[in-house]
Symmetry: C2
Subunit: 279 residues, 2 copies
Amino acid sequence: MKTYLDCYPCFLRQALEAARMTGADERQQHGVLVRVLDLLRDVDLSGTPPEIGDQVHRLVRQELIDGDPYRAIKDTSTQQALALYPQLQALVREASDPLDTALRLSIAGNIIDLGPGRAYDLWEVVQRILVQPFALDDRIALKEALGRADRVLYLADNAGETVFDRVLIETLDVPVTYVVKGGPTLNDATREDAVAAGLDQVAEVVDNGTDAPGTILARCSSEFRQLYHAADLIIAKGQANYETLSEAGSRVFFLLQVKCPVIGRDAGVPVGSIVLKRG
Amino acid sequence: MKTYLDCYPCFLRQALEAARMTGADERQQHGVLVRVLDLLRDVDLSGTPPEIGDQVHRLVRQELIDGDPYRAIKDTSTQQALALYPQLQALVREASDPLDTALRLSIAGNIIDLGPGRAYDLWEVVQRILVQPFALDDRIALKEALGRADRVLYLADNAGETVFDRVLIETLDVPVTYVVKGGPTLNDATREDAVAAGLDQVAEVVDNGTDAPGTILARCSSEFRQLYHAADLIIAKGQANYETLSEAGSRVFFLLQVKCPVIGRDAGVPVGSIVLKRG
């Protein structure tokens, strides 16, 4: 998916938020914004939004010499999600269709995304998404593919969302390789975040070898690319994976909440939609 | 009020929206955004947000050779508000405290502001604000001042909001000079908009001699500045007047809805607040 002009304001807001998370003072924040203005001035719009976001967040990290501005908020997100974990498990246990409920919970967890900059109440989101109709619905195809697959390659998104992924993975009858980022970017989950959420107890945790958001294959390690190309079923969580892999084939199933109008327009669904879409 | 870094993303969004209203194609929109990025790079942050907004919107108008990108939406806003006019009048007529209701309606009309970029339902806003507690409340002082004043200088804000101002002015026992912009900026009311809303039937309509948002005195005509300095009671509508006149004296009463976090922080009240504040 290409980058739209609507993404520009969003990149600026994200850079400012990230700079503030490092504790930067106003002069430093201003310095970062000026660098981002320069970057956006010359950026190649044919790239996907996560490719440009990668440059923006890399610039913030370099400029403010903070390797992981979102560390504290990622830890908090994981703890908050873990506090719900017993309730999430109970919802699946008591569901008439446990896999369906677990898929919905995994999508509910995708609200824990600091890119779009919207406030939310986590438990309210869970309640809503348990009953919300899918705007794009390839659940039947996914369930069939799960029945045939030997292993699932599961592309993670954000810290905290990991806990919701864990509930889904526990519900699957297929072994899972859980892929996190190779380094910090935004509030995306790294190995540290996955382990804090207990993913290592239910899946093989690997990283994709890069600190870019989404899954920018050219930036990933050759080890990850091998896994990716060999996989017969891939679950890709969140907007950034959708944006970067939207040309991927039918092996890929995207699970996400649509949290910004640009992605809504691309997918042809309104903001607030829940999506389970085959590539 | 100074400009905050949080305003940068907002300026970019406004420029993009304004460019689209002119019918600009994507290449032209991109050209405008690049010019705005350059402008923001070098802008003096000690100016107020409307001073910088003025430069941004002026740039869009020049770059796309459209003197009034918001013309169509201003006309629509006025027509929509006029459609409610009989109901607004009835609300005041049937109120136990007509002046209080008319003040609330004037503040309700301030939702018709295309700066903050939020969607709203006009009639829902009216219903809410009729009963919403004031976050800052100098109503008693304003009512006293209205009792003593020979004339009110009323600084208008947006097209459509004008109709709500008309209902308030009809409720006052004091003659009113209604001040609109001297030229188009954003969806701010000009003389054309005021007349379309019937303000010329209830007040003397004058313009402030400039096409800048808010009231930037140094940019206004000497005729307007004379009126301003001579007035013993000024009602100033909306965020941009608050931002540009926030150092004004106790003759000025600000009536507004807080629609952005930057102004909320400055005023010490949450977004969504209704404010009637003496300067």
